[in-house]
Amino acid sequence: MSTEETLTLDEIQDHILVRAWLDHETGQPEPDHCLSTVSEAIRQEATQILTRKEWIAVKDNQIILTPRGQEQASHLIRRHRLAERLFAVVFNLSEEAVHAQACRMEHENVLTPEAVEGICSFLGHPPSCPHGRPIPMGECCKLFTNEVKPLVMPLYQGEVGNDYRIVFMAPKYHSLLERLSGLGVTPGASLHISQKSPSFVLKVSETEVALDEEITNGIYVVCLQ
C-alpha cells in the first residue's frame, strides 16, 4: 500500500501522537508502520511543531505526551478503534484489513465529532476494539445516549426465536467472561434466544445455556436475518 505518500504534515503529527500513546500503553517502543515511509526530516519537522504546541515533550530521545497532547491522542485512538469496531462488526473484515482502514479514518478531518458519537452509539458504546484494547470513553458513553437506533444492542433487548451474533461482551466482572466463553458464549459466536422468562435460555451451536437477565445486559449482539 502506498497511502503514506499522500500523508500531510497534520496526519504525520497525528501518527506521532498515536505512536506515543501506544508506546505508553504497551510499555515498550515499537516501530510504527504508518510512519515508516516518512522521511526523517519531515518527521523532525512534525515533532518540532508538536513540541511548540506543547502537546509533546522530547526527553532522552523519547516522546512524552503532555496532558493536552494526551487528550488529543485519546481522540485519535478513540476514532481509530471505533472505526475498527465498525468495520469488524458491519462488514466482518479481517483484523488486518480493519486496522489498515482505521489508520486512515482516525484523523479529525475524516470523522467529525458528531460522526464519532453516531458510530459509538450505533455500536452500543463498545469498551474495546476487536483486538481487545480499550477504547477511550467519549461524552456519549458517559451519558449512554441512544439517539441513533443502534445496530449493536445488548442481548436482553433481543427477541425470543431470533438469531444473533455476539459482537463484544462487557460483563460486570471479568470472571464471567471466562465462564461464558467456556460454554461457547464468546464474541463471533451465533446464538438463538430460546426464552427470556423465567430465566434467559440461549442456544449456542449445540449447547443450551441458561443465565441471568443481568448478564445479558453485558452481551452485545447484532441481529442475523
Partner: protein
C-alpha cells in the same frame, strides 16, 4: 518410569467420562445427565497390554483455569500427575472441546482423543471426519457411543499408542512472545512448562503458589511484571483473549473435519421448551411431583412398607427371631436376659433396629432412588434450575444451587459434597447450611410421607409451608449476614434423554448398597444405645431431664425424648421413632406434626457433620450445629403455640 501408569479421563462437563471410566475399570461411578455429577476424583484399575494401570475419573472442566472447586480438583490433578490423558468430547460440541484440547496438549503428556455421543451428533446431522482430526492433532482419535459400549474396545486398543501431540498452537504476537519469556524463567524440572507458562499469563495465581518452591525470587518478580505488562495492554482479561484465540483455532480445525445439516425440530425439543416455560414449566413440575408422590409416597411408603413390615417382619422375621432367641437366651437368667432383650426386647436390634432399617426405610428409599435416578438421567434437574432461579436469588443463591438441594432429597451428605459445583464460597456455605437444616433426605422423606399418608392432608401442607418458609427465611438471613462476591447464574442445560434402564438399576443398587452400609449400622448403633440407656435406667432420667423441653415446650409425651435422642445420630431414624409412636397411638395429630417439624430441622446425620467439617472446616461445622438444634426446637415450640 513409574511402576503404575496413570490414565486420566478429562473433558467438558457431561460428556460421559464416568461411563467410560465404568467400562475401563468395571467399577461404578455415578452417571447422570447433568453437568457436575462427578465432583471428586474416582479411581479404579484397568489393563493396558499386560500392565495394570490406575484410571482416574475427574470432574468436568471447560478450561484449565478453574472457575469452581470441582474444576480446581481436575486442574490440580493434571499438574501433579503424569500419565496418559484421555480427553472425552461431546461429538455435538467439539467446538468447546478443542480449546481444552489445546490446553491439555501444553502439558506435553501422551494423549488420546475420544469423540463420544456420536449417535446424538448423527441425529443432529453432524458428521465428523475422525481420520482427518487424527492427522491434524497427531494423536489417536476414537469415536464412541459409550452408553451402548460402541467404540470402547477400540479405545482400549488405542490407549497403548497414546502420544504427545505434534500439533502446536500459535498464539498471536504479544502472547507468544510473553509465553516464551515466561517459560524461559521456569526450570526444566517442572512438568508441563508450557502449560504453567500459559496459566501464569492467564493470571492464574494458584499456579504461582505451586511453583513457589522451584522458582527463584527474581524469576517470580520477573514473571509477575511480564504478566502485568501484557495485561495492561488490554481492556479484557488476558485469559479471555487467549481463550478466544484457542476457540478460533479450534474453529479452523473444525471447518476441515466437520459437516453439519439442519434437522427439523423433534418431539424432544418441544418437550424441552415445555419444561422451562414460565407457565407450562410449572405444570410439568407439578406433574413430576405428583408422579414421584404416587410412586414413593403411595406405593413405596404405603403398599411396600405395609407388605414388608406387617407381612414379612410382623408375621415371620420378628416372631421367628423371638422364638429362636427365646430358645438360646432364656429370659429367666439376668445375663442371658440381657442378650435376649438386646436382640428382641422393646429396643432390640432385630425388633427395632432391623425392622426400622429394612421394613420401614428400605422400601421407601428404594422407590425414591429409582424415581430420583429417572429425574437425573432424563436431564430434568437442570431445567428445574431455570424455573427456580429467581426465587433462589432471594437466598443469595442462583438456580444452579437447585442441583445440590434436590440431590439433598436423596442424601444430604453426598449433596454437601456436590456444593463444589457452586462458584463462590458464600453460596457453598449457604447451601450446606440449608441442606443440613431444611432439606429432608430420602430416608426421612419416605418416613414422613408414610406418616402423612395416615394423617389429615392439611398437616402435610402445614409441614411443607413451615419447612419452605424456614428455608427461605434462613437463606435470606444468611445472605444478609455472610459477606461474599455477587453470583451470576450461568449454567449449561444438557439435552433431554430417555433414561437407560441399566444405568438406573446400577445407580439405584449402588445407592442402596451405600444405604445398607452407612445408614443401617447407625440404626443398629442408635438402637443399642437406647437399649443400654434403658437397661441401666438412664433413659428414664434423660426423659425426665428433657421433659421441660419435650413435654412443656413441645407438648409431646416424655417418651418422645427417645426419638429425639436417636435423631441426633440420624434424623430419619428419629422420624422413624415418631412413625412408630404415631402408629401405636402414642401421639395425636397435632403432636405428630410438631414432632415432625422439629425432627425435619435436625441435622441429617453424623456423617453429614463430618462432611461439613471436611468441606468447610470444624469451626463452620460447629457454628452450624449449635445453630441448628436450638433453632429446630424453637420453631417446634412456636408452631405448637400457634396450633394451640
Amino acid at each position: 518410569m513409574n511402576s503404575q501408569q496413570k490414565i486420566i479421563l478429562v473433558g467438558n462437563p457431561n460428556v460421559g467420562k464416568s461411563v467410560i471410566f465404568g467400562f475401563l475399570t468395571g467399577a461404578y461411578a455415578t452417571v447422570s445427565n447433568y453437568p457436575g455429577t462427578t465432583v471428586s476424583l474416582s479411581k479404579g484399575e484397568t489393563k493396558l497390554g499386560d500392565r495394570t494401570c490406575e484410571v482416574i475419573d475427574t470432574p468436568g472442566v471447560n478450561s484449565l483455569i478453574p472457575m469452581s472447586e470441582d474444576e480446581a480438583v481436575t486442574r490440580n490433578l493434571l499438574l501433579a500427575e503424569n500419565g496418559i490423558i484421555i480427553q472425552v468430547a461431546d461429538a455435538k460440541n467439539l467446538s468447546r472441546a478443542l480449546p481444552l484440547t489445546f490446553q491439555l496438549m501444553e502439558l506435553e503428556i501422551p494423549f488420546v482423543f475420544v469423540i463420544n455421543m456420536c449417535d446424538e451428533a448423527a441425529k443432529n446431522g453432524i458428521k465428523i471426519d475422525a481420520k482427518k482430526l487424527e492427522e491434524i492433532l497427531g494423536v489417536p482419535v476414537v469415536t464412541t457411543v459409550a452408553t451402548r459400549g460402541l467404540g470402547l474396545p477400540q479405545l482400549q486398543e488405542k490407549m497403548a499408542s497414546a502420544q504427545i501431540s505434534s500439533y502446536s498452537l500459535k498464539y498471536s504476537g504479544v502472547f507468544s512472545e510473553a509465553l516464551k519469556e515466561i517459560a524461559a524463567e521456569i526450570p526444566d524440572t517442572v512438568v508441563g512448562k508450557r502449560a504453567c507458562a500459559s496459566m501464569l499469563l492467564s493470571g492464574d495465581r494458584t499456579v504461582v503458589e505451586r511453583l513457589k518452591k522451584v522458582l527463584a525470587p527474581e524469576a517470580k518478580t520477573k514473571i509477575e511484571s511480564l504478566c502485568r505488562k501484557v495485561a495492561a495492554q488490554f481492556a479484557e482479561p488476558v485469559s479471555f483473549l487467549m481463550g478466544r484465540e484457542r476457540l478460533a483455532q479450534g474453529q479452523i480445525i473444525l471447518n476441515r473435519v466437520l459437516s453439519a445439516q439442519k434437522k427439523e425440530r423433534s418431539f424432544f425439543q418441544f418437550l424441552n421448551r415445555w419444561t422451562m416455560h414460565p407457565f407450562l414449566g410449572l405444570v410439568v413440575l407439578a406433574g413430576v411431583l405428583e408422579i414421584v408422590y404416587l410412586f414413593v409416597g403411595k406405593f413405596g411408603a404405603g403398599i411396600a412398607v405395609d407388605f414388608i413390615e406387617k407381612g414379612i417382619f410382623g408375621k415371620y422375621i420378628s416372631p421367628g427371631s423371638v422364638w429362636l432367641v427365646d430358645r438360646i437366651f432364656s429370659e429367666a437368667h439376668p445375663i442371658t436376659r440381657f442378650f435376649h432383650d438386646a436382640l428382641v426386647g422393646p429396643y432390640g436390634l432385630i425388633t427395632m433396629g432391623l425392622s426400622y432399617g429394612f421394613a420401614i426405610v428400605l422400601p421407601i428409599v428404594t422407590t425414591f432412588f429409582i424415581a430420583f435416578s429417572l429425574m437425573e438421567d432424563s436431564g430434568y434437574l437442570p431445567r428445574l434450575a431455570v424455573m427456580v432461579n429467581r426465587c433462589f436469588k432471594w437466598m443469595g443463591l442462583n438456580g444452579k444451587a437447585v442441583l445440590p438441594m434436590v440431590l439433598g432429597l436423596g442424601c444430604d451428605t453426598m449433596a454437601t459434597l456436590t456444593t463444589r459445583i457452586l462458584e463462590t464460597k458464600k453460596q457453598r456455605v449457604i447451601v450446606t447450611l440449608l441442606l443440613a437444616l431444611a432439606v429432608p433426605c430420602s430416608a426421612q422423606l419416605g418416613v414422613l410421607l408414610g406418616m402423612f399418608g395416615k394423617m389429615p392432608v392439611w398437616t402435610f401442607w402445614v409441614w411443607l409451608s413451615v419447612i419452605i418458609g424456614i428455608m427461605f427465611f434462613v437463606g435470606f438471613a444468611s445472605n444478609k449476614i455472610l459477606k461474599g462476591e455477587p453470583n451470576a447464574f450461568v449454567m449449561e442445560i444438557p439435552p433431554l434423554r430417555i433414561p437407560q434402564f441399566g444405568n438406573v438399576a446400577k445407580k439405584t443398587l449402588s445407592r442402596l448398597e451405600w444405604y445398607v452400609k452407612e445408614a443401617v449400622p447407625l440404626f443398629l448403633l442408635g438402637t443399642f444405645i437406647l437399649f443400654l440407656l434403658d437397661a441401666v435406667h438412664v433413659l428414664g432420667v434423660l426423659q425426665r431431664a428433657a421433659s421441660p423441653l419435650v413435654v412443656t415446650i413441645l407438648g409431646l409425651p416424655k417418651e418422645a425424648a427417645n426419638a429425639f435422642l436417636i435423631g441426633f445420630l440420624r434424623r430419619d431414624y428419629g422420624a422413624t421413632g415418631f412413625f412408630d409412636m404415631f402408629n401405636h397411638g402414642q401421639l395425636n395429630v397435632m403432636q405428630a406434626l410438631v414432632a415432625l417439624v422439629v425432627i425435619t430441622l435436625f441435622i441429617p446425620c453424623v456423617a453429614n457433620v463430618f462432611m461439613i467439617v471436611k468441606e468447610h472446616g470444624g469451626r463452620t461445622a460447629l457454628k452450624m450445629v449449635s445453630f441448628i438444634f436450638p433453632f429446630a426446637f424453637l420453631v417446634g415450640g412456636i408452631l405448637r403455640w400457634i396450633l394451640k
